[in-house]
């Protein structure tokens, strides 16, 4: 909703549609008829945040509760921020236009480390004290969830509590508790103490961290009966877990402007670099009936004519073909297309291709992640060159001529030969095109090999690994470019310096809170946007704070070091991660969960693939 104060600023900004709300299916309630006002904040601009499925799920779900009004808040782009600051308009929620300073709960979703400065900037723009210790009343409770909450320590000073794991149930429990404590006029301390007893809630102020002289963590000690470890929450019955039948449909074009169906959670594969693959274990599928109904409801309520079957690895759904056939029974009549965002190399069948041919003709993407078989074994990416070739040949036959291959550089044990292997693999795909008798006539082929820099993440077997220094990463990037011998292969890479900062915050500890605060004061924001990110500025800030970023990014940890996130428990045993790390150095792969259980620990959640019968067990 817009009021006069907001309207006056809109004439001077780009894309005012970002700041007005009022979209189809947005939820309006009366502020005086609810007990809890919840600001769901996404620390990036509207177009990015509105594309995010988690926001859509939790927004709708919180609003199903009659006494809660959940509204959306995004980071304003710099032009709007400038107008807001100049005219003294604090950060407001889109549905009501009300300042979020007076809200009960301000919740952030933590999707990537480079958005951390935006969080502080948004709190500041709202007029909310940044540090939890400076907020004394029960209201203005600042909370967060999302994948980066797995290591919340660099943000510990700013948040009152974190949600660990999947939010659907625990969010509601915390909101209910909040309402009770608010009615009884109890203090924030009392509330936090009670909240910390709910599974999946981490209250950082209830843990004392001590450090060794070399700055590594000495001990993590809970206070006031707070649990150790803090165990994640997870929805074991994904068919029954809440899924909205309505999405807010933006007026303006966003990144993913379509119906998104969630077909499964978790992943059966244990790629050793992939944090999501471990955080969301175990693998849980939705049934065809449920997905079909959810897709149909959403298409009916939004008017979208495209469905994206989303998940970490959609093609691992055991009934994918059946699902697509079922969807086709109505999508064709209704002129609705189906797209699969994540395709794996090894099960891209001609059959599957013919069914999704109608959409996304423009380009196909695959992620072999490493250029040589040896290195793919190291990272447990169980994809062979033969499979990749089979797949691209299927794609060429189907008329595709643009292929994008994703890789990482800087992986553990990587040599320059592995890097050259990326270019060679690209070349082999080009050669396969020309050798293919069924290739599209009169067309050339284009293969993009895109290399991002590896960032070691918590809760993966590589959590102890040093990240390559920026010099090494740049050397490898140059080597990749030099290894490409034809114009049909186009190398592509990202700047190493943002990956470095990501690596610092991904495995950081509470000492980084001061760095973030200083970064915010120095004007750092929108670090995920190339033209705003300033590496020299960040280095100055680390220097001023007396903190060596290489300690976090480039240092090898020993297996017995206390890690800053050791008190957080995602169900994966540390001993399993250590074994996986050792296997990586021995070039030994681990079978996926469907082939064989490797006892990672996630069976403690009592469901999903851990309890499924395996076919053809050897």
């Amino acid at each position: 909703m817009v009021n006069k104060k907001i309207e006056k600023l809109l004439a001077n900004v780009q894309k005012p549609g970002r700041y007005v709300g009022g979209e189809l299916n947005c939820v309006r309630k009366h502020a005086d008829e609810v007990d809890v006002r919840f600001a769901f904040c996404f620390p990036d601009i509207y177009e990015v945040g509105m594309s995010h499925l988690g926001l859509k799920i939790l927004y709708s779900q919180l609003n199903t509760v009659p006494y809660v009004w959940c509204e959306r808040v995004f980071a304003p782009w710099v032009d709007m921020e400038e107008e807001m600051r100049k005219n003294g308009l604090p950060l407001y929620a889109l549905e009501s236009g009300d300042s979020i300073r007076d809200f009960d709960i301000i919740g952030f979703t933590l999707q990537y480390e480079l958005s951390y400065t935006n969080i502080l900037n948004m709190l500041d723009l709202a007029g909310i004290p940044l540090k939890a210790e400076d907020r004394h009343s029960l209201s203005q409770l600042v909370v967060a969830g999302g994948p980066c909450a797995c290591n919340p320590e660099p943000l510990a000073d700013f948040f009152d509590l974190f949600f660990i794991g999947e939010g659907e149930e625990v969010d509601l429990e915390v909101v209910a508790l909040y309402r009770e404590y608010k009615k009884q006029d109890r203090s924030k301390e009392e509330f936090l103490k009670a909240a910390s007893q709910i599974q999946g809630v981490y209250v950082p102020s209830l843990y004392h961290i001590s450090y060794h002289e070399d700055h590594t963590v000495k001990a993590i000690v809970p206070k006031e009966g707070a649990p150790l470890p803090v165990k994640k929450r997870i929805m074991m019955d994904v068919d029954k877990s809440y899924f909205p039948d309505k999405f807010v449909v933006p007026y303006i074009e966003i990144v993913h402007d379509r119906t998104v169906a969630e077909v499964l959670r978790g992943c059966i594969r244990g790629c050793r670099f992939c944090q999501a693959g471990f955080l969301y274990r175990p693998f849980r599928e939705k049934s065809v009936d449920v997905i079909d109904r959810q897709c149909h409801d959403l298409c009916d309520s939004t008017g979208y004519d495209e469905i994206s079957l989303s998940s970490l690895s959609t093609s691992d759904h055991s009934r994918l073909n059946e699902l697509i056939d079922r969807l086709h029974t109505w999508t064709e009549k209704e002129n609705t297309g189906i797209s699969l965002p994540s395709l794996r190399v090894d099960n891209f069948s001609p059959e599957l291709m013919s069914k999704i041919k109608s959409v996304r003709r423009s380009g196909l993407t695959f992620a072999p992640e490493a250029g040589t078989q040896r290195l793919r074994d190291v990272i447990n990416k169980n994809v062979t060159e033969e499979e990749l070739m089979k797949t691209v040949n299927t794609a060429f036959k189907g008329g595709w001529t643009t292929i994008k291959l994703y890789f990482m550089i800087g992986l553990p044990t990587e040599t320059l030969d592995d890097v050259a292997g990326i270019a060679e693999l690209g070349q082999k795909v080009v050669d396969a095109f020309y050798a293919n008798p069924d290739k599209p006539k009169g067309k050339g082929v284009k293969v993009t090999v895109s290399a991002s820099s590896f960032v070691p993440k918590p809760f993966t077997p590589f959590q102890w690994e040093p990240q390559d220094t920026m010099e090494t990463l740049r050397k490898k990037q140059r080597h990749l470019v030099a290894s490409v011998k034809t114009r049909k292969v186009e190398p592509n890479w990202h700047e190493a310096d943002t990956s470095f900062l990501e690596a610092v915050f991904a495995r950081g500890d509470r000492r980084l809170c001061g760095v973030l605060l200083e970064a915010h004061r120095s004007g750092c924001k929108m670090d995920g946007w190339q033209n705003f990110f300033s590496f020299p500025k960040w280095m100055e800030i680390f220097e001023r704070c007396g903190i060596d970023p290489a300690f976090y990014a480039n240092r090898r940890r020993s297996f017995d070091e206390v890690l800053p996130w050791d008190h957080i428990d995602y169900g994966i045993k540390k001993s399993f991660l250590i074994d996986e790390c050792k296997k990586a150095y021995a070039n030994v792969t681990t079978p996926n969960c469907r082939e064989q259980c490797s006892s990672c620990g996630a069976s403690c959640f009592k469901g999903g693939i851990c309890y499924e019968k395996r076919q053809g067990l050897v």
Partner: protein
Amino acid sequence: MKNVRVWFKKIGTARYISHLDLNRCMLRAIHKAKLPLWYTQGYNPHAFITFALPLSLGIGGERESMDIRLDDDGITREELIGKLNAALPDDIPVFDVTEPVMKPGQIAYASYLMKLETQGHPPEETAAAIRELFSRETVVVPKHTKNGMIDLDLRPYLDRTEVVARDDGVEISAMLPAGSTMNVNPSLLCDAMKKYLLLDLFSDIRRINLYDADFKIFE
């Protein structure tokens, strides 16, 4: 097959979406309402949908129209209105569906209502100043065109302008050239006030109606 003209308002939040976004929004609404939209034949079928005269960003519209071609003539006016309203955001309400009478190309004028905030100044004084400005011999403002900036004299277009003082500000009703040949954006009037009177007033502008060259209401 039949052509229908859908009449709607673009108010509140919808004022801040571009013409391109409105177009997508309408297509989605038609899809959601499951209207039997007629598609062109051939390799790349597309729907027939055109808007009479796109509004500029930030300006509201009280009587906007969109022409669509339907594959089925059995559907009633009431059904169409009901289905579209159920599929559109609140700030784009459909209030009528008619058979098109004039062609969008015939549009030559548009009427606007502009509400200016005078912020503490007595509205009567401000209104008088604006009236005086609008009656000068020339009122020249810079205007963006395809060929860059030009100086435009607003004087010839200000004869059908009325400036009235209200309790909370000044209200201007204006009738300005609109359409493919000549188009005068009402915000140019504000530019003139800024330039000549140094009045930078917040203005809420709504387009009320469209007319042909003989000032007959667009139907």
